[in-house]
Symmetry: C2
Subunit: 300 residues, 2 copies
């Protein structure tokens, strides 16, 4: 058994992860200020992808070094290091594993739209167990969502800085049930994503068809109309997840996720009574590759 | 000439409008807390439209009474009083006129999603001249966007409470130009709205077609592909406008606006260098009815 099954261990690790997410957020705010200064000097728009990529790499390095200094025997999976081909051997192993997305919502960050988050997740036996999601640009002090997924755990929201009060999540606890006619009446979150091909099989075609179906009146679109209460696209699946975990949204749909996109968010969602389901049959799942789920996270 | 053409008058009025927006925001936060308590007691979901309607009416009353006590000779147009049929005679007159949307983003408020704003606008000669938009649930202290549209005016953002520091808007000033291949590379904001009919002429069909065109690769959709950098739907056209005014978004598209939806947002947008254009030819405009524009607010 891992030594990380006691609640005291998890509380210490959760506190470490929250502080680390705030530290990374401070780096991101400072980096944004540097980018703004540079954009003003050069009179160019901020959408230099290179600058953001370098922030991505630097934040992942900051988090990785801090984690391995504190927990040298843990595995670490990050978006950047995975992309660089180093870390495939760790994917979804059973030992204590940190799974990190240094910047979720990169397009938003390029445009200074505040739905950008640092996502630090921790798994044991492939189960998301601790999550810390920090949105450094949301509110004057940033917004921190975190959870320990454990019978004696909890989930919390902080919007007044590290010394400010915590709000237990979900905001209404226990969460009321979904409307009886769901998805009718639900607040639905979905993202348009990067695949923009105009072809019948593209992610864009599938997603946009789903969005229009969800929006349409009951009985419309050949019976597929969902009449959701509203459709929201924030540009960050991590932020979608924490809003649902908070009870501020009901359903989200995402296709083509990777571990680092979802680990911290799932830990928070699981602890607040949310569920995550695959849209594909279980026998399609290849646990050594990217998670092939079109995850539908909604309340029980 | 109105007495409200001096910058000193406008500064006093702007300060009054900002304080009033914060006062209304405090009411809305307290009201939300009451609704949460009631929902926990009854174990029902918060989506009772009646409760929100009553908050809408109460906040409009609070703002109207404060405005008319301070400025008894001004006209006042509010969504609620207009809907009740009282105020049509004031629509778009030339005198000093307050135009108020007590709650923009009602569906969000029902679901506790924080993109909800109080919008207080002030027009002279039908020109949006002062705007105060307060989002009471966004950040621990709420988020206040405001502007005086005047050569000696300005636009500001506050996220640390009434005594906290102000950030001049736009965040990058002057705003860099739009990308040369716009809408490619832009962050696009659009809302799905309430008309969900599955018919060729419905607002849903027109809007969703536009959204998919904007998202699709260049050359796709019969040449209509816009390859925007991202599509965002927040559920509040007022919040869309203040993000664009801040330089955190580039383009928004809205159909079927009413004066109270846009007055404060336009004042802020105009002062920060944004433009608002009609998608219909000018000779279609009927200035006594609802503004028939599909406004496209973007940067010069």
């Amino acid at each position: 058994m891992s030594s990380f099954t006691t609640i005291a261990d998890l509380e210490k690790l959760h506190s470490f992860a929250c502080n680390l997410a705030r530290r990374a957020g401070k780096y991101l705010r400072d980096d944004q200020a540097r980018r703004q200064k540079k954009a003003l000097e050069t009179r160019e728009k901020l959408n230099s992808v290179d600058l953001v990529t370098s922030a991505d790499e630097n934040i992942e390095k900051l988090i990785r070094e801090a984690v391995l200094a504190e927990y040298p025997d843990h595995a670490f999976i990050g978006e950047e290091s995975y992309s660089a081909g180093e870390e495939k051997r760790f994917l979804l192993k059973d030992g204590p594993t940190w799974i990190v997305d240094p910047i979720d919502g990169t397009v938003n960050m390029v445009h200074m739209f505040p739905m950008t988050a640092i996502s630090i997740g921790f798994c044991i036996n492939s189960i998301p167990t601790v999550g810390a999601v920090f949105a450094p640009f949301l509110g004057g002090h940033g917004s921190l969502y975190s959870a320990i997924h454990h019978p004696q755990g909890g989930a919390w929201f902080s919007e007044f800085g590290p010394d400010g009060p915590l709000t237990p999540l979900p905001i209404l606890s226990p969460l009321p049930p979904l409307p009886k006619e769901a998805p009718k009446g639900c607040l639905f979150f979905g993202e348009w994503g990067k695949d923009r091909r105009d072809s019948p099989q593209s992610n864009l075609t599938k997603k946009s068809t789903n969005f229009v179906n969800m929006a349409t009146e009951i009985g419309g679109r050949g019976g597929k109309g969902g009449m959701v209460h509203g459709l929201r696209s924030l540009g960050s699946s991590t932020m979608d997840m924490v809003y649902i975990a908070s009870g501020q949204g009901d359903i989200m749909f995402e296709a083509g996720c990777w571990e680092w996109d979802v680990c911290a968010g799932i830990a928070i969602l699981l602890q607040t009574g949310g569920i995550v389901v695959d849209s594909s049959p279980p026998d399609n799942i290849d646990e050594t590759g990217p998670i092939p789920m079109a995850s539908l996270g909604g309340r029980r």
